[in-house]
């Protein structure tokens, strides 16, 4: 097993705000790692530090076998980075954008690379169109194509599928898996649980801290969360009532069903005991990633947030 990323003690502050606090990351080569966490938790800052856009306050290690952060410039050349916001030139055509990127990376055959990329994207006929006129899904495909044009070993994607329709997302993930199969290491931040489940591994970051790591199944198992599902006419209406009971850490409606979760199985079972009657049918289910993450957020929230 080769580690593409092996960094320790990564921290970054902006003024008094600690955006990333002592994070360590080990990511295997050729793996897709999902970077999850609520807005403002430090995902973008972490990605930017890894690709040399931000200088870490502390932290060291190796990225692609190069010393991090000392060899940031060399790391940069082998890394592809796709920003959260479309950051190619909207006033240049699709072809001009790709040509610019190809030349900046000093690709050997600029025109061939551009032609191939256009062909693969299916944009050959629209090559003269301004990038700003593309729809969200096409912009995202173009941005990904630009980010991998120089054949990087590491690909960092910052919420690449925000605002993109399901079909385009599906295509996008197929492409990411294709790239990973060829040996590219991918670190992708996302808010979508279905995307998290398509990653080989996930890393959950909250308030600048890394609070969960592993495959989706491992993260769920390690949470030691127990979840019961109640079905029956308008079982979802019990949410408020049940949430107040001791042992119930979360009660969330799922359509007409209700998920009740807690880490203490005995207390949880006691809490729902009086509701184990008609018309409700109770079954123990595996907690979803979402259940786990919401619970993680709750557990790790600072005291004042919990009180509120």
């Amino acid at each position: 097993m080769t580690l593409a990323i092996d960094v320790e003690g990564l921290s970054k502050s902006f003024g008094t705000f600690k955006a990333v606090d002592n994070i360590s990351l080990q990511i295997e080569q050729g793996h897709i790692t999902g970077f999850l966490g609520p807005n403002g938790s430090g995902k973008t800052t972490s990605l930017r530090m890894l690709c040399g856009l931000l200088t870490p306050d502390t932290g060291h290690g190796q990225v692609l076998g190069l010393e991090f952060p000392r060899e940031a410039e060399a790391i940069k050349r082998q890394t592809g980075y796709m920003t959260q916001r479309f950051s190619l030139y909207e006033d240049l055509t699709i072809e001009e954008n790709l040509t610019f990127i190809a030349r900046v990376y000093r690709l050997a055959h600029v025109q061939d690379s551009v032609d191939q990329t256009l062909e693969r994207l299916g944009l050959t006929k629209r090559r003269k169109q301004l990038a700003g006129q593309l729809s969200g899904g096409w912009k995202q495909r173009l941005a990904l194509a630009a980010a991998v044009m120089h054949d990087p070993k590491l690909l960092l994607l910052d919420e690449p599928t925000a605002g993109v329709d399901p079909q385009a997302r599906r295509d996008f993930w197929d492409r990411i898996h294709g790239l990973a199969d060829e040996g590219m290491t991918v670190l992708v931040s996302t808010h979508y649980m279905d995307e998290a489940e398509r990653c080989h591994e996930i890393a959950y970051i909250f308030n600048g801290h890394l609070i969960a790591r592993g495959t989706a199944d491992q993260v769920i198992a390690e949470s030691r969360l127990v979840t019961f599902e109640a079905e029956g006419p308008r079982a979802d209406r019990l949410a408020r009532e049940l949430a107040a009971r001791p042992g119930v850490e979360m009660a969330a409606p799922f359509g007409e069903a209700l998920h009740v979760s807690g880490t203490d199985r005995a207390a949880l079972e006691a809490a729902i005991q009086s509701y184990r009657r008609e018309p409700y049918r109770w079954t123990e289910v595996q907690p979803t990633l979402e259940d786990v993450f919401i619970n993680l957020m709750r557990v790790h929230a600072p005291a004042e947030v919990k009180a509120a």
Partner: protein, 377 residues
């Protein structure tokens, strides 16, 4: 450290040219800046400049010469800063721009006044800036009577009643017909270049930050110097085309003479273009968005027009305003371009202004490079 790559530079340059051709600028007007500028210039501008530096060459030791000098000073228009010893020295002073006027009182002045011989006083004015000399020249015609009233008494009183006991001969040098466009048109080279170069460079750079494309630029292997050269070169071309156009138009449409100072003019333009671009780059490292860049450019642009001697006589301003004006590269560029076109000054005479421009380039480019961030920190 990686080597610089010409092809990467060319990639940025091509991109920049393409964008430049497509971009349509919209201008935003702000309230705060006009107020500040109004207050500043309301006090600074003076269309009736006084205390203009004057050199005198007194070849006559008589009492009337002394009276004339005294009344020159009393008029407040003239400030005698040089007492020359020879006509050649006078020529040099006025050519260098050290003085606005050179006044020669001939050797036999007192004697000829007494003999009612209508002697002459020669006043040479640097009229390349007509507004600066106009009022002073007008004041000259009333001077002699004032100056000599006290002296022409007793036996000499008979010399007084005539309208003029002597003649003042005024020679306007460099712009004898007093044509204002000779002054303004060459000056436009400096102001138009300032406007275009500072503003467009600062906007082109901040646009990258504002649209998020800076993040892409910074994540590529581009070196800061490659970005700088690539981004600034199109504007050097813009500057050269504009300069050539304005100078051609000055010659063809306005008939502004070209007295022959090509070397000083070309060197001055080069320094000025580079300096203005560097300033635009510096602005972009401070401004967070295009609006701020625009505000800063305007804040720089207005004093460049009003305090540099472009529209209003530099010497008419109070000393603190002249001091501010001296910091502006436009002031020095104006001196170079007017000197070169109207006086035909060479590199040696233009050296102080060229030196000031070079100093500006070094300081501003140094600051810009120091300020430029290679990360998003």
């Amino acid at each position: 450290m990686m080597g610089l790559s010409l092809s990467r530079m060319m990639a940025v340059l091509t991109k920049e040219f393409t964008q430049l051709v497509r971009d349509r600028l919209t201008y935003a007007m702000i309230i705060g800046i006009p107020i500040v500028q109004l207050l500043l210039f309301g006090y600074a501008i003076n269309t009736d400049p006084k205390h203009l530096p004057t050199a005198v060459l007194v070849q006559d030791q008589g009492q009337f010469s002394r009276s004339i000098l005294g009344s020159l000073q009393n008029s407040e228009y003239f400030r005698i800063v040089h007492v020359a010893r020879s006509p050649a020295e006078m020529d040099k002073l006025i050519e260098r721009g050290a003085v606005q006027f050179a006044i020669t009182i001939p050797g036999d002045f007192t004697r000829r006044v007494v003999r009612r011989d209508k002697p002459q006083i020669l006043v040479e004015a640097d009229a390349s800036d007509p507004a600066a000399t106009g009022s002073a020249v007008a004041a000259l015609s009333s001077l002699p009577i004032e100056g000599l009233k006290h002296d022409l008494k007793g036996p000499l009183a008979s010399a007084a009643p005539g309208p003029q006991p002597f003649e003042v001969v005024i020679q306007r040098r460099y712009n004898p017909e007093n044509i204002t466009s000779y002054n303004i048109v060459p000056g436009l080279v400096a102001t138009i270049l300032t406007m275009t170069l500072v503003m467009m460079t600062s906007l082109a750079m901040t646009r990258e930050t504002e649209r998020g494309t800076m993040e892409t630029l910074l994540s590529t292997p581009l070196r800061p110097i490659e970005v700088m050269v690539g981004k600034l070169t199109p504007f050097v071309v813009v500057g050269i085309i504009q300069a050539a156009l304005i100078i051609s138009m000055a010659r063809i449409l306005f008939g502004v003479p070209m007295a022959g100072g090509w070397a000083a003019l070309i060197l001055g333009l080069f320094l000025f273009i580079v300096g203005s671009l560097a300033l635009g780059f510096l602005v972009s490292t401070v401004a967070r968005n295009q609006l701020q860049a625009m505000q800063m450019s305007f804040f720089y642009f207005l004093p460049s027009i009003l305090l540099s001697g472009f529209l209003f006589p530099f010497r008419g301003m109070p000393e603190w305003a002249q001091w501010l004006g001296t910091i502006l590269p436009v002031t020095h560029m104006l001196r170079v371009v007017r000197g070169a076109m109207l006086k035909g000054v060479g590199l040696a005479e233009a050296a102080p202004s060229l030196g000031a421009l070079a100093l500006f380039v070094v300081i501003v480019a140094g600051l810009a490079v120091k300020q430029y961030r290679t990360t998003l920190d």
